[in-house]
Structure formats: structure tokens, C-alpha cells
Symmetry: C2
């Protein structure tokens, strides 16, 4: 089992039994998530910005428009925090106190690295699209030079990470087990589709089948 | 129309056409979301922690175990950032560059306020549960004194907020409109259920009907 790299800063102190060190679990979380929340400090104020993300090997990538405040700060090399969260369910206990949530989360610390090279930028963007919609990259108009220049890409290494997972039923106090309260889990899933063609589509183009990607969460038309 | 309060720090610079100032939209985002991402700075390092949240009037609440690092920092009164994001769809354009996402997000800045009083803590927790599962509070075992002491609650005022919304079809370049590429939106929804009773339920208790709360996103057994 490949291990998640951690540090004193990412060691889990609260409910350490939820800490996970299996690298495969980390990869699954990052590959299932579409967005991350990126935290940085500007002028002593914390900011948390949601942005699309994708993993390639030991790196998690984000992109954005050159000139945005966030990307300027990322370029400074400051250590940031990138958090990815999948909310899997609401945990309903017999007592108010033991209510909880099922979730999988990854908290990644470190500096962001700028993708300077246009060739690397292009291949990272291709990787992103192919992750979400396999086969699509070859069909769309590729970025031109102006568009590539207007797109900034960054990655953070998966070298200082904490992964937390809660699954399963509520854990109630022994004395509460006989209370006449429904206890259990309300699962939460992301559901994709049905795909909705753009109103200004001028050509009859069949909707591609990306449903295999997201499996059962996808609803086809 | 009640307006979202903003500031120079929360003024939207990137794609300002996506800025939204309708207070009702802000409330809808916060009421639909179950989690927020809370950003704070500790020892010059940014941290972003996912946590459950709920709104009451002009306040967004979070809770957690007393003694957690995050809650200790919140108590210090430092200005933090609380971000709530709903990912509504993937926007598939004819060109790689114009791919996008539909989303609704709120970024809230300011200090967190500690709920010192146990009576206020109890009523805030009741409000939280009733928001997610109306009618449930009266059926569960209420928190005892020890549990109430072990729970910290905080709120942030909705006084310095930026709200961003993107909806609808991709916006492609005029020159790309005739490309034989499927363009449109892949909607994303959170789906709740079916409710799964705890394996250790010793009594026959019918699953309550919370389906009205989350509307069509709920799948009943």
C-alpha cells in the first residue's frame, strides 16, 4: 500500500481514527471531485476560492485567467491550502449529539507551481478534459496562442496531505439504543445529466456518451 | 430587493458580470448548501477546513468539538473566510477555451462570534437539525450538559459577502458556431437517499419523511 505523505502540520488531531493513509483513497477522492477550495492569505486576510481541479500522478492542477488576484498570489510561491471534500451522507443518530456526516476529504499544503511552458499547459488542459469527458479533446477546437497565454495553470504536489474519511452508521450511546428514534444514514450522491444541448446549436450533433465516466451517478436522456 | 452587503475586499474583479447582489440568492445558496469551507491562517499557513453550516437570519453558523485547533483560532477573533459553493453543471463549449462550469458561490469575510450561552447553543443546534430534518429535534435525545459543553458554536455575520453565479449555455466564439461539436450543459445535482436504517436498530421505527425538504433531489426507498 502506497502511503499518503503527511507532516506535523497535516497530522490529524481531531478524531484521529478517521485519518487515512492509503494513497489509493487519496487518489480516488481527488479523481471523483470536480472542485477544490483553495485557501491563501492576502494582506493578513484569509480567502477561500472554489475552482475546478484535476489530478495527474502526484500533482493536483488548477487553472484560471491570467491576471486574477488569486493566481498572482499563487505565483508568489506562498504556501497555500487546497481542500477537496466529498459529502457522502447525513448520519442520523438517536441523540442530537451523535449526529454526524459521512465524508471524504483531503487537505493539501504547500506552494503552487506555475506551468510556464505552453506545451506543458496544453497537455495539462488535454488531461483535464479527457478526465471529465474522454474523447472530447480531439473533437473541440484546440486553444490558440492567445487563449493559451490567457490561461494560467498551477499544480500542488501531493506531498503534505491529510485525508479524513467517515463512513457507516451513527455511533450512539449504549443508553440510547432503545429510544424509539429512526437512526441511520441519508446517502448523498452527485447526479450528472441529463445532458442539455445548447439552444444555439446550429448543427445536429448527437450528445456524446460520457456516462461511463461517472458511472451510476449519470442520468441519460 | 434586499442587497448583499459587500466591500472593497469582496468586490468581484474577475468576470464581474457574474456578481450577484440579490440577498435572496445569497440566502438560497446558504440554505441549499450543507457544508462550507472555512479558511483561516495559523502560523502564516493557510488552512481550509470543510464543516457543516446553517443560516439563521443574517448569520451563518458552524459547530465543532471544543478543543479543536480550528475553533481555538476562531475564538481569537481573527477575520476568516467562509466559502459556500454549489456546483450546478459542466459547461461544454465548441472550443476547449470556452468550457466552463455553472455554479453558485458565496464568499463571506469577517470574524467568527462564539455562542457563549448554553441556551443560545441549544436553540442554534435545534435550528440546524430542523433545517435539515424538520420535526426531528422533538424525537431525538436532547443534548445533556456535558454534551453541550463539548460543543462549540460560532457564527459569522453576512455583512461582507461576494456572491457569484454562472448559469446557462456555453458562450462560444462566433467563428466556432458551425463546428460539428456537441455543446451544452451537463447538469449536476445532489441526490439524497434512499434512507438506510442503522444495522443496530433494535426497534421497528419507520423512516421519517424528510423528502419534502430537499425536493426532487431526494430518492425514497
Amino acid at each position: 500500500m502506497s502511503k499518503v505523505k503527511t507532516s506535523n502540520r497535516t497530522r490529524i488531531r481531531r478524531v484521529p481514527t478517521r485519518a487515512v493513509f492509503d494513497r489509493e483513497i487519496l487518489n480516488q477522492i481527488l479523481d471523483e471531485a470536480l472542485i477544490c477550495h483553495l485557501g491563501f492569505t492576502d494582506n493578513e486576510q484569509s480567502f477561500v476560492i472554489p475552482t475546478l481541479c484535476w489530478r495527474n500522478e502526484n500533482r493536483l492542477y488548477v487553472h484560471g485567467s491570467t491576471g486574477s488576484r488569486m493566481l498572482k498570489i499563487l505565483k508568489s510561491g506562498a504556501s497555500v491550502c487546497v481542500t477537496v471534500t466529498l459529502l457522502d451522507g447525513l448520519v442520523m443518530a438517536r441523540s442530537a449529539f451523535h449526529h454526524s456526516a459521512n465524508y471524504r476529504s483531503a487537505v493539501i499544503l504547500g506552494p503552487m507551481h506555475h506551468v510556464d511552458n505552453e506545451t506543458d499547459r496544453l497537455s495539462a488542459l488535454e488531461h483535464f478534459m479527457e478526465h471529465i469527458a474522454p474523447g472530447r479533446w480531439a473533437t473541440v477546437r484546440a486553444p490558440n496562442n492567445k487563449e493559451l497565454k490567457a490561461t494560467d495553470l498551477f499544480w500542488i504536489a501531493l506531498d503534505e496531505v491529510s485525508v479524513k474519511v467517515r463512513t457507516g452508521d451513527p455511533v450512539d450511546d449504549v443508553g440510547d439504543m432503545d429510544l424509539p428514534v429512526w437512526a441511520g444514514v441519508i446517502p448523498i450522491k452527485q447526479q450528472f445529466g441529463p445532458m442539455a444541448g445548447a439552444k444555439d446549436m446550429q448543427l445536429e450533433v448527437a450528445a456524446p456518451n460520457y456516462s461511463t465516466v461517472f458511472g451510476q451517478r449519470w442520468v441519460n436522456e
